[in-house]
């Protein structure tokens, strides 16, 4: 390279898939594809139409191939979108219009096709807000493929044919384009749009490709082949790194691989303390597709499936059938392991567009969660029907969020009984022994735990809400972030009392809040007698390593000491003092921050 030394630029994005990569940049869309308009000679019209049809055929074969691959790599459920893609590709009206344009106006196939798609896109845009927005990007994905095929057939140059390992820098990388790349030559990737839960991020995680999203290229000069570092764990991207950067990240990369290798040997071992107590380790998930990583990390079960994510990213309500398919998919993939489905926990920071939820002054204490469901019986019943139907096939448990009094749990069970009767009448199968549980995340529920325990088969302590309600600290308010203190004795004493109540009634006690995934807090929870810890799949193996290195007796003594302390600082200090070195020796570095946005 000539000229001045290229400038080092560091960009902060969103971590989308963990891991590190160093390599040459590959710019997926260096510029907008320009489709040129040409006029074809009248005698070549038939040839042009034939060329279009060949391209459509080829695109169909490609999509079918991708569908098969996704079924194998990720699962049947996620592959269904490609059926819609194929239908869009073969749409009789689009094809007829394009052929008409070629015949009448003597336009070349790619121009005729892309102008038809652009016209459709404009009509989509003009249609009621967002109803069809998701499908627009599906149509674009299909159209780009067809146009690529048409243009490539001309200059015979595949831009996806990458001869060496690269880092893909893209604006909007779709799963179908990503799956065109050779896995071996894909070191890492960045996208401009999409977050942690976008389809491409999930695909990247399941393929173990480090990825960062939210990286915008506007105003940054980058040439193909320039060196790029991707830190998918922290969400950083360095363009034109210094030698020092490269050394540092080579080291991080090696350490990451070593850790992954070590952890993968843990996958098949049991989460059992040195004195033989089994602690069920389960995973929190938001999307059906995440069960793949749950299985990969060897979880005992799904301890919390946040079903509201089916409702958050769309304008309409998912139908009973759609929900049923999602629940059945998770249940069957995890079977015989258990899956705890939490009913729609909408509100707070999770607004469901179809419910037209208004911004509230005090949203966490507002119209949310079980309250919303009990106010919208038909929506609630649709979800319960879908869950019950799915229980016929697998080991599913049902959990209700934010129960704060006896009336709510009794009323909820009444609705569930009504749904059971409906299904009985219709002769639809479900598991009559379905276990139900409630989340204990409101201080009122802690106080009333003795009565609540008679109504349910298990408790799941949601620590994030329990902390915010106990301490009166809004967890979304940055100004009081420091006051959100999981180690508050007021929190620990409540947790202890809930576990005691559960034990007395012979029901299971689980923690599915952020504290379950914090190594220091987990030791105390184990010592208090918790049966199950449910956390993000990514920290499961480290947690298993920790559990296998301590004794229950040791954890019990620790929890007793914690209960004697009277301030959060004392408790935090005590735990760090007592276990800081041990965690360092185990190589456990993940201390989740104090704050969290979920649950």
């Amino acid at each position: 390279m000539s000229g001045p030394k290229p400038k080092r630029v560091m960009l902060q994005g969103v971590p989308a898939s963990p891991g590190f990569a160093i390599g040459p940049a590959f710019l997926l869309h260096p510029e907008e594809r320009v489709v040129k308009k040409r006029v074809i000679p009248p005698e070549k019209v038939d040839q042009e139409v034939a060329r279009l049809k060949r391209a459509l055929d080829k695109a169909h074969k490609e999509i079918l191939g991708i569908k098969t691959r996704i079924i194998g790599d990720v699962g049947e459920y996620e592959a269904r979108i490609f059926d819609t893609h194929m239908m869009m590709l073969q749409d009789v009206e689009i094809v007829a219009e394009v052929i008409k344009d070629i015949h009448e106006n003597l336009h070349n196939a790619e121009y005729a096709y892309s102008s038809r798609i652009n016209a459709l896109a404009e009509r989509f845009e003009s249609i009621s807000g967002g109803f069809l927005k998701d499908h627009m990007s599906d149509l674009r994905d299909v159209a780009t493929r067809v146009i690529d095929i048409l243009m490539l057939s001309e200059n015979n140059l595949s831009y996806l044919d990458v001869p060496e390992p690269v880092i893909i820098l893209s604006r909007n990388l779709t799963p179908s384009v990503l799956s065109q790349f050779n896995r071996k030559n894909t070191l890492g990737l960045t996208t401009e749009v999409g977050g942690k839960t976008s389809h491409v991020s999930i695909l990247a995680r399941s393929l173990e490709i480090p990825a960062v999203s939210g990286i915008s290229w506007s105003g940054i000069e980058i040439e193909p082949g320039q060196t790029v570092i991707i830190d998918g764990t922290a969400g950083n991207v360095i363009i034109n790194p210094s030698l020092r950067d490269i050394k540092e990240y080579e080291f991080k990369k090696a350490a990451f691989f070593a850790m992954e290798r070590e952890l993968s040997t843990l996958r098949d071992l049991e989460p059992i303390t040195t004195d033989g107590k089994y602690i069920e380790l389960s995973a929190n998930i938001e999307l059906p597709i995440e069960v793949e990583s749950v299985l990969q990390y060897g979880a005992d079960s799904v301890g919390l499936y946040r079903s509201e994510f089916l409702f958050l990213t769309r304008e309409d309500m998912p139908s009973e059938e759609e929900q049923y398919q999602a629940y059945k998919y998770i249940g069957e993939r995890m079977s015989p392991r258990a899956v705890t489905i939490r009913t729609m926990d909408a509100g707070g920071d999770k607004l469901v567009p179809a419910l037209k939820m208004a911004g509230e002054l005090n949203p966490y204490m507002g119209w949310r969660s079980i309250r919303v469901c009990l106010d919208n019986r038909s929506i609630f019943k649709t979800q319960l029907r879908a869950v019950l139907r799915a229980t016929a096939y697998s080991n599913i448990r049902l959990m209700f969020p934010m129960i704060s009094n006896l009336w709510e749990i009794r009323e909820t069970k009444k609705v569930l009984d009504e749904v059971r009767k409906e299904l009985d009448k219709e002769g639809i199968a479900y598991n009559a022994q379905l276990e139900i549980g409630c989340m204990v995340e409101v201080p009122a529920a802690v106080v009333m735990a003795d009565e609540l325990a008679r109504e349910v088969d298990f408790f799941s302590i949601g620590t994030n809400d329990l902390i915010q309600f106990t301490l009166a600290v809004d967890r979304a308010n940055e100004k009081i972030a420091e006051l959100f203190e999981p180690n508050s004795p007021a929190v620990w004493r409540q947790i202890k009392s809930v576990i005691e109540v559960a034990r007395r009634h012979g029901i299971q006690a689980c923690v599915c809040g952020e504290m379950a995934g914090d190594p220091l807090a987990a030791i105390v929870l184990i010592g208090m007698g918790i049966d199950e810890l449910s956390m993000g799949p990514g920290v499961l193996l480290e947690m298993k390593k920790l559990i296998r290195s301590i004794s229950f007796e040791e954890a019990r003594l620790c929890s007793e000491a914690v209960l004697l302390l009277t301030t959060a600082d004392e408790i935090g200090g005590y735990l760090r003092e007592r276990y800081g070195d041990k965690l360092a020796d185990l190589g456990i570095t993940k201390f989740p921050g104090k704050r969290s946005s979920q649950i």
Binding site: D83, T84, M88, V92, D134, E321, S378, I379
Partner: protein
């Protein structure tokens, strides 16, 4: 030609999956199947046409079938609507 007015009674209107089901069903028949909503005519064998109707819950759609198997086609479409576009 036979026609019938049908109401969208599922919770979420005609989005991608119901649209796909409609196309799948209409394509099984030889006759033309046309959906008419607010004066807009859509070929029910085209997923884009159906999606562009943007039929929300409660929308009334006039279905028009014409051809040798027009009666059977209309029946099949009506069944799809009354089953709320379910699979089973």
């Amino acid at each position: 030609m036979v026609t019938k007015e049908l109401t969208v009674i599922n919770d979420s209107g005609i989005h991608a999956r119901p649209a796909a089901l409609i196309v799948e069903t209409a394509t099984k028949f030889k006759c033309n199947v046309i959906f008419i909503k607010d004066g807009m005519r859509a070929n029910a064998k085209s997923i884009m046409n159906i999606m562009l109707l943007a039929a929300e819950p409660g929308a009334v759609i006039k279905v028009e079938t014409e051809g040798s198997d027009e009666a059977e086609a209309l029946d099949a479409i009506e069944q799809l609507f009354s089953s709320k576009f379910k699979y089973d």
